[in-house]
Every structure is written in C-alpha cells, then in structure tokens.
Symmetry: C2
Subunit: 238 residues, 2 copies
Amino acid sequence: MPPRPSAAVTLETAQPPGDTKARLLDAVVQIFAERGFHATSMRAVTQLAGTSVSSANYHFGSKEELLRAALILRAAPLNDLRLKALALVEAGPSEGKVRVRAILEAFVRPLLEARPELKDEGFPGRKLAARLYVDPPDVVKAIQQEVFGPVTVRFREALENAIVDVDPENFDLGLQLSLGVVVHSISGRFIWPDEEEDPSGSKREQAIESIVAFAASGLLALVEEKNSETGNPGASAQ
Amino acid sequence: MPPRPSAAVTLETAQPPGDTKARLLDAVVQIFAERGFHATSMRAVTQLAGTSVSSANYHFGSKEELLRAALILRAAPLNDLRLKALALVEAGPSEGKVRVRAILEAFVRPLLEARPELKDEGFPGRKLAARLYVDPPDVVKAIQQEVFGPVTVRFREALENAIVDVDPENFDLGLQLSLGVVVHSISGRFIWPDEEEDPSGSKREQAIESIVAFAASGLLALVEEKNSETGNPGASAQ
DNA sequence: GTCTATATGTTGATAGAC
DNA sequence: GTCTATCAACATATAGAC
C-alpha cells in the first residue's frame, strides 16, 4: 500500500494539527442530530472526525460532556439571536395577534434562517436542536433544559403578556403544540430547499413565514376557542 | 432465603402459564415508548415481563420483530377506528373548514381518546405510536411506514379533496406541521389528566378538541395565507 | 495531543438441558 | 416453552507509549 498522500509534508505527530476538538464538535453535531444520543457511538463520532476515542475523551472527558459542549457552542449564539429579536418586538408598538405572531417569529426565525454566526450554513445544527426535544434519555433532557430552558421561559412570559385573558390550561397546551410545530418542521420529513436550488433563499423565507403563521394561528385558535365558550369571542388578543 | 410464595402450588415449569407472549408485548410497548429503540434493551423488556431474553427470542425471533409485533397489535385497531371515522366524515354533508376540521378530528380522536378496544386504557400505547415518528433508527422508520403509512395516505387524500385550490408546497408543509402537533401533544411535556383526576373525561375531551382546533387552524392559515398572496382571500376552503 | 492497547461492562442472539 | 450458560460484538472509558 502507498503511504497517505500528505504524509511526507511534516514529521509531526501523524494526525493534523490542533483542530481535533473542532472536528469532533462538528462530527458529534452531525451524527447525534441524525441518530440521537443512544444510537450514536463514540466510535462513529471519532471515525467521522478522523481521530480516536481516547482523543475525544482527552478533550471532553465523556460522551455526555462531548454532547454538552457541542450544544453550548451551537445554542449560545442561537439564544442570543432569539433574545435580541424578542427585545425588538417588545420595544415595538405591536399589539394583539400581530404581536403574538411577531414573538413566535422571534423564536422561530433564528433557528430556521441560514446564519453564518451559528457556524452552520447547512442543516445539522438545527437538527441537533430539534432532536433535543424528541430524544428520550434523561441525559439529553437535562442538557436541553440547561441550554434552552431560560430562553424558553422568557418567551413564555412574553407571550403571556401579549395575550390578555389567558386561560392557563389552554395556554400551556398551546405553547407545547407550537413547540411541536417548530420541532417537526425540522425533524420531520419536510424537505428544506438547499442553497443551490434556492439561491435567493425565497423558498426558505416562505417556509419560515408559513411555520410562524401555522403556530400563531393555532395558538390563537386555542385562546379564542376558550373565550368563545365564555361568550367573549374575538377579544382574546388585542 | 424463603422460597417464592407460590412455588408450592404446582410442579410445572417454574414461570406462569402461556401468557408470556402477551406479557412481553405489554412490556415492550411500555419500555420502548419511554426510551426509544436503541435505548431499550431486551434485558429490560424481559425483566419487566418476568421472563428471559431467550424466551423473547423464542417467541419473536429478534428485537426488531418483537417491536413490530407489538406495533401491529396496537396499530391495527387504531387504523380501523381512524378509517371508520374518516368514512363517516366523507359520507356526511360537511364542507370547507368544517370538513377539514372533521377530518383532522377523525385522525386525532382515535389516538387520544381512551379506548378499551386498543387494550390500552392508559398512556403507553399512545406514546409508542408517537415515538415512532420521532425515533431516528431506520428500523423504526420502516415499521412506522409499514404500520401507519397507508392510513396516512388516505387522510392526505381526504384533506386534499376538502381543500380547494391546494398549493402543493404549503399543503405538504401544513400536513407535516399538523402531524407535529399531534405527536407533540403526546410525546411532549404536556400533562394529560389521569382517570382519577378527570373521571368524566371532560378535561381530556377539551384537550382533544383544542388539539384539533390548533391543527385545523394552522393548516387553514397556511392555505389562506397563500391564497391571500394571490389576491383570493378566504376562498381557500369552501 | 494523539495514538495503540486494553479494561470492564452490556448488548443481541444462540446452544442445549429440562 | 422456559430456563441457564455462553458467545461474539459492541459500548464507554482508561493506561501508557511517544
């Protein structure tokens, strides 16, 4: 067998320089997003990253910590974008249904829009975020809470303020279903247009708007339904 | 240590009579629904069923076949209920939005309602169905397609007929998001009232109606949004 | 920092006694 | 039919050379 093509360049330690950590993070995002926590083995991750299991454990200590590191890296900028968008909406003059929709958009858009800041032009990072919400292991649930919990609470409060006369039970159900909409827009079988098929991003843009419209309409339908039962139709969001 | 309490009753083969198969099916539904395919081990299942791994493999041949058997057992009656409910809606005189909502209800209600026919008064069977849609392994995806695919296609056609002037792209997205709503109403963190807290089932009933309302409103919002762009507002479902 | 080699446990599946 | 005993393959994690 011939030696590896680039083997003659340097006499150093075999594998590429010091970007092993970065390659591991990329690999874990990719594989974990596809297969979930339990179905993802350290072997698979380290093979994709072109390194060894022990190298991964040297850098991160354990499988769980590797996942947590990848998530914090991906989620921190996403959280920032969401909170900034929310602040803009709350500082603005919008009211009622328009505001509800704007808040949901502030939650959805940073996740679905192509964002170089997230160091993820493509899809794996989004899928990872979505998988957190459907993967059963306690480990994953804990990380999800840790990474996304506070921001989710912020959005919950914002929506609670934007909808007057909130019925707690329907509101909680509505929030969960809205989250289901967002998660399934990613983890389900809907095909997102890729960049070459949709260079202007207009198809993606339309999909984002549709998703926001779906969630907002559903959420408001719940509140309206409740209020129409109490004989107060249409006055739920003002 | 004292002998097992019932050990003196018979001289037969140690474990209970011939309902091992049934106990295994119950156990796999319960555990798989909670943890997903890869995180569920044969040992965990067989321990819960009070038998051994080899016994399970004797009856079902493999882990995958055990899951498939459990699913077919649970899904067949669910499919029947859904198709019957759909037939009733299609034979009826409803039109437009009302019919769209009725079709969605025919899909949702048999899943969420307490149904003795499904041999599952409680929750595990529903959770299992929901998990099929979020569990990543190819095995699971294949079983889901096999078990639920045909009925899903039937409902898709029914909805396509009920909504005039369908925009294919938004329609597909809308269907997927609707499915996300249903799946998340089960697999998410919404707490369903249990039977003792809600003996009349009225809370559960209200939740089902809310879920249908959410999905119908979201789906129609997508179609209406599209049509209002083309200058034809409100004429999408008639 | 990265590797090879290994430790230690668990997995799904099978063999064979009863 | 059900069990105990066992298999080979896989899992995560660590030890130690370089």
